[in-house]
C-alpha cells in the first residue's frame, strides 16, 4: 500500500512542477473567445458533473469482472449508445468542426474515415471477438498467439493509444473549463484531471457504461439544439439544419458571409478550401481516410465494448445503433464549421479548436445555450477519457501484472493495481496536455495510426488466418509500432517526409504501413511455421475453434 501512495504522490508532485513550467505555453485558443467567469454555464456544468458522479457512485462495483466489462449484460441500443459515447470524444465534438473550418472539404476525410471504420469492424472483428468473450484485446492476442511478448506489445500499444488519445481530450476539456470559469489553460487542465480521476476511481466500468448512456443523451442534445437557433440567425428557416446549411456552403463559395460580400482575394481563399484539392491532394486524402478506418477498427477501447453485450447477435446490432448515434453528430459538425466561416471567415488556426464556442458566440446565441453546448463537449471528453484510461489501466493491471508479473494474484490486488495505474496514466496525460503538439483532431489521428498499424493487422490475421503465429505477429506488430512512432517523432521534428505534405504523414501513415504489417506477419509466420512449438499451435487452434464455432473446443484451465 505504501508503495502505491508513493507512486501517486510522486506523480502528483511531478505534475505540479511541470504545470508551473508549462504555464502559458499552450491554449492561446482561449483568448479567441469571451473572457471571464460565466455563471449560467458554470451552474449547468456543475449540475451535470454531479449527475455523472452520482450515477457512478450509485453503481459502485467490487468484483474485477464488474470493473472491466460491466458484467456482460448490456442491450443493443444501450451498448450502441455506449459505443457512440465512448467514441464521441472532444475530438469529434470540437476537433472535427475545427478541422472542417480550417480545411474545408478535405476535413470531410475525418468524417468518412471515422464512420467507415465501423463497417470494417463489423465485418471482420465484432462477432468473433464476442465469441472469445474475455476481458481485453492484449489478452486475446496473447492467448491466440500463446506469447507473452505479443501480449506485452499489445498492452503497451493500448497504453500509448490511451495516452495519446486522452491528451487530445484533455486539451478539449481544458479549453472548455477555461471558457466557463475564465481560468487560464494550465489550471483548467488540472481542474479537469481532478474531475476525471474522482469520477473514475469512485465507479468502475459498470458505472461508466450506465453513465455513458446518460452522457450520450446530454452531449447529443447539447450539440444539436443550438444548431436550430444558429441557423435561424443565419437566415434559414431552422427546420432541419443538417440540410439547410447546404445553401450557406454554396453561398460561401461565392464569397457571401454575414458581413456581406467578401473581396475577391478572400472569396478565392474560401472557394479553394471548399474545392476538392484546395487543402491537400488525392493521395493524402485517401491515406487519411484509410488510416482512420483501420484505426477505428483497431482501437482497443472500442473493441472491448463487444465483450459487454449479451451475445453476438446483440454485438452486431449494437454496431448499427452505435453508427447511427455517431452519424447524428457527424451530420451536424459540418454545420458548426460552416457557421463559423459564415460569421468569422478569417479566424484561422487560433480559433479552430474552439469554433463550436466561437461560432455561437459571434452569432449572439447567449450564454445559456453555449453553456449547455460546452457541458456537452465536456461530457464527450470525460466519457472518452474514462473509457480510455480504463482500457489502458486494465492493459497494465490485467495483462501485465495479473498475467505475466504475478499470475494468480488475488482479485482485490489486481483491482488495486488497476486503480493506481488509472491515476498514474491520468498524471502522464496531464503532462502531455499542458503542451499539446497539434490540433485536437490531429493528435487523435495519430492514435489511430498506431492502432491501425499494430493492433488491426494482428487481430484480423489472428481471427482469419490460422497459419499466422507468434513470430509473425511479433514481427508485424514491432514493424507497425516502430514505423508509426518514427512518423510521429519525425512529424514533431518537422522532417518534410513526415509532414502534412510528405509521403508518410504522421496522421495518415497506415496506407503504406498497415498493408506492409499484414505482409510481414504472413511471410514471417509461414517462414517460421516449422519452428512453432506444439503447445502454441494447439492453443492457437483451440481459440480459433471457439472463434469460428468449430468442433473440438476445450475449455482452458488457468493460463
Amino acid at each position: 500500500m505504501n508503495r502505491c501512495f508513493a507512486i501517486v504522490t510522486l506523480s502528483a508532485s511531478l505534475l505540479i512542477l511541470t504545470g508551473t513550467l508549462a504555464f502559458g505555453v499552450a491554449g492561446e485558443e482561449i483568448y479567441q473567445v469571451k473572457q471571464g467567469f460565466k455563471l449560467v454555464p458554470a451552474i449547468i456544468m456543475v449540475a451535470l458533473l454531479c449527475i455523472y458522479i452520482g450515477v457512478g457512485f450509485l453503481s459502485k462495483v467490487s468484483s474485477t469482472s464488474g470493473y472491466w466489462v460491466a458484467g456482460q449484460g448490456v442491450g443493443k441500443i444501450g451498448n450502441g449508445a455506449a459505443i457512440a459515447s465512448d467514441w464521441m470524444s472532444a475530438a469529434s465534438f470540437m476537433g472535427v468542426a475545427g478541422l472542417l473550418y480550417l480545411k474545408g472539404w478535405f476535413g470531410l476525410g475525418y468524417i468518412i474515415g471515422w464512420t467507415g471504420g465501423y463497417v470494417l469492424l463489423l465485418c471482420l472483428i465484432a462477432a468473433q471477438i464476442r465469441r472469445f468473450g474475455k476481458y481485453t484485446i492484449p489478452e486475446f492476442l496473447g492467448d491466440r498467439y500463446n506469447s507473452h511478448g505479443v501480449r506485452l506489445i499489445a498492452a503497451s500499444v493500448t497504453v500509448i493509444i490511451a495516452i495519446t488519445y486522452s491528451t487530445a481530450q484533455f486539451k478539449g476539456i481544458g479549453l472548455i473549463c477555461g471558457w466557463i470559469f475564465g481560468m487560464d489553460y494550465s489550471s483548467s487542465v488540472f481542474f479537469a484531471a481532478g474531475v476525471v480521476c474522482t469520477y473514475m476511481l469512485i465507479s468502475g466500468m459498470s458505472g461508466v457504461t450506465r453513465n455513458q448512456q446518460i452522457q450520450y443523451v446530454v452531449l447529443i442534445s447539447a450539440f444539436l439544439i443550438p444548431l436550430w437557433v444558429l441557423l435561424r440567425k443565419a437566415g434559414g428557416t431552422g427546420i432541419l439544419p443538417q440540410i439547410e446549411y447546404g445553401h450557406i456552403i454554396s453561398n460561401l463559395m461565392e464569397g457571401q458571409t454575414a458581413s456581406g460580400q467578401l473581396d475577391p482575394e478572400a472569396t478565392r481563399a474560401i472557394r479553394n478550401a471548399y474545392l476538392p484539392w484546395g487543402k491537400g491532394d488525392f493521395y493524402h486524402f485517401i491515406a487519411l481516410v484509410f488510416t482512420l478506418m483501420v484505426g477505428t477498427a483497431g482501437l482497443p477501447h472500442i473493441m472491448i465494448r463487444f465483450y459487454t453485450v449479451k451475445n453476438e447477435d446483440v454485438a452486431r446490432r449494437s454496431v448499427l445503433w452505435g453508427l447511427f448515434f455517431i452519424g447524428l453528430l457527424y451530420w451536424s459538425s459540418p454545420v458548426y464549421a460552416a457557421m463559423g466561416q459564415f460569421w468569422n471567415p478569417a479566424g484561422g488556426k487560433a480559433v479552430a479548436d474552439v469554433i463550436i464556442l466561437s461560432a455561437p458566440e459571434r452569432a449572439g446565441l447567449g450564454n445559456a445555450f453555449i453553456g449547455y453546448l460546452a457541458s456537452g463537449a465536456l461530457a464527450a471528453g470525460l466519457s472518452t477519457v474514462a473509457g480510455l484510461l480504463i482500457a489502458g489501466a486494465s492493459a497494465i493491471a490485467h495483462d501485465w501484472y495479473a498475467t505475466v508479473y504475478r499470475p494468480g494474484c488475488p482479485d482485490r490486488q489486481a483491482l488495486l493495481v488497476g486503480r493506481v495505474f488509472t491515476a498514474v496514466l491520468c498524471g502522464i496525460v496531464v503532462l502531455f496536455a499542458l503542451n499539446p503538439p497539434a490540433l485536437i483532431a490531429q493528435i487523435v489521428a495519430m492514435a489511430f495510426a498506431i492502432a491501425g498499424n499494430t493492433i488491426f493487422p494482428a487481430v484480423v490475421l489472428g481471427i482469419w488466418y490460422s497459419r499466422s503465429n507468434k513470430y509473425g505477429a511479433l514481427a508485424g506488430m514491432l514493424f507497425g509500432l516502430g514505423m508509426t512512432l518514427l512518423a510521429m517523432f519525425g512529424w514533431m521534428a518537422k522532417i518534410p517526409m513526415f509532414s502534412d505534405q510528405g509521403i508518410l504523414p504522421a496522421t495518415s501513415s497506415a496506407l503504406i504501413v498497415c498493408p506492409l504489417a499484414f505482409l510481414i506477419n504472413i511471410l514471417v509466420s509461414n517462414a517460421m511455421d516449422d519452428k512453432l512449438d506444439d503447445e502454441s499451435a494447439e492453443r492457437g487452434d483451440n481459440i480459433l475453434r471457439k472463434l469460428h464455432n468449430l468442433p473440438g473446443y476445450v475449455e482452458e484451465g488457468d493460463s
Binding site: A127, Y465, D541, L544
Partner: protein
C-alpha cells in the same frame, strides 16, 4: 497422445459451411464498402483532372444537391448514410444466411 490435426482458417478459403456463409456476407459488404469509401473520392478526382488550376473543379463541384455542392454532400452525408445502410444489410444478410445454418 496423438496430435490433433491443425485447424484451417483462411478468410479467402473458408473450410466449413458456417465459415463460408460468414465470409461470403463479409466479402459482399467489404466490396460495397470499398466502392463507397474509395470509389467516390476517385470519381471526384477523375472528374476534376481537367481543372487547369489543379483544384479538382468539375461538374461534381458545380452541381447542387439539396443546396449543397454535390461533391461536398457525397462525402459529408452520402457516405455516412451508405455505411449505415451497409451495417443494416450486414445484419439482414447474416440473419438470412447464418442463423438458419446454426439451427440445422
Amino acid at each position: 497422445m496423438a496430435k490433433k490435426p491443425r485447424v484451417s482458417v483462411n478468410f479467402f478459403a473458408p473450410s466449413t459451411d458456417g465459415m463460408k456463409a460468414e465470409t461470403s456476407v463479409a466479402k459482399t459488404i467489404l466490396v460495397l464498402w470499398f466502392l463507397l469509401s474509395y470509389g467516390i473520392p476517385t470519381l471526384i478526382w477523375l472528374a476534376g483532372l481537367s481543372d487547369p488550376n489543379g483544384l479538382g473543379e468539375s461538374f461534381l463541384t458545380n452541381a447542387r444537391f439539396l443546396g449543397f455542392p454535390l461533391h461536398y454532400w457525397l462525402l459529408a452525408q452520402g457516405c455516412t448514410l451508405g455505411y449505415l445502410f451497409l451495417c443494416k444489410l450486414y445484419c439482414v444478410l447474416w440473419d438470412m444466411k447464418i442463423i438458419p445454418l446454426r439451427k440445422s
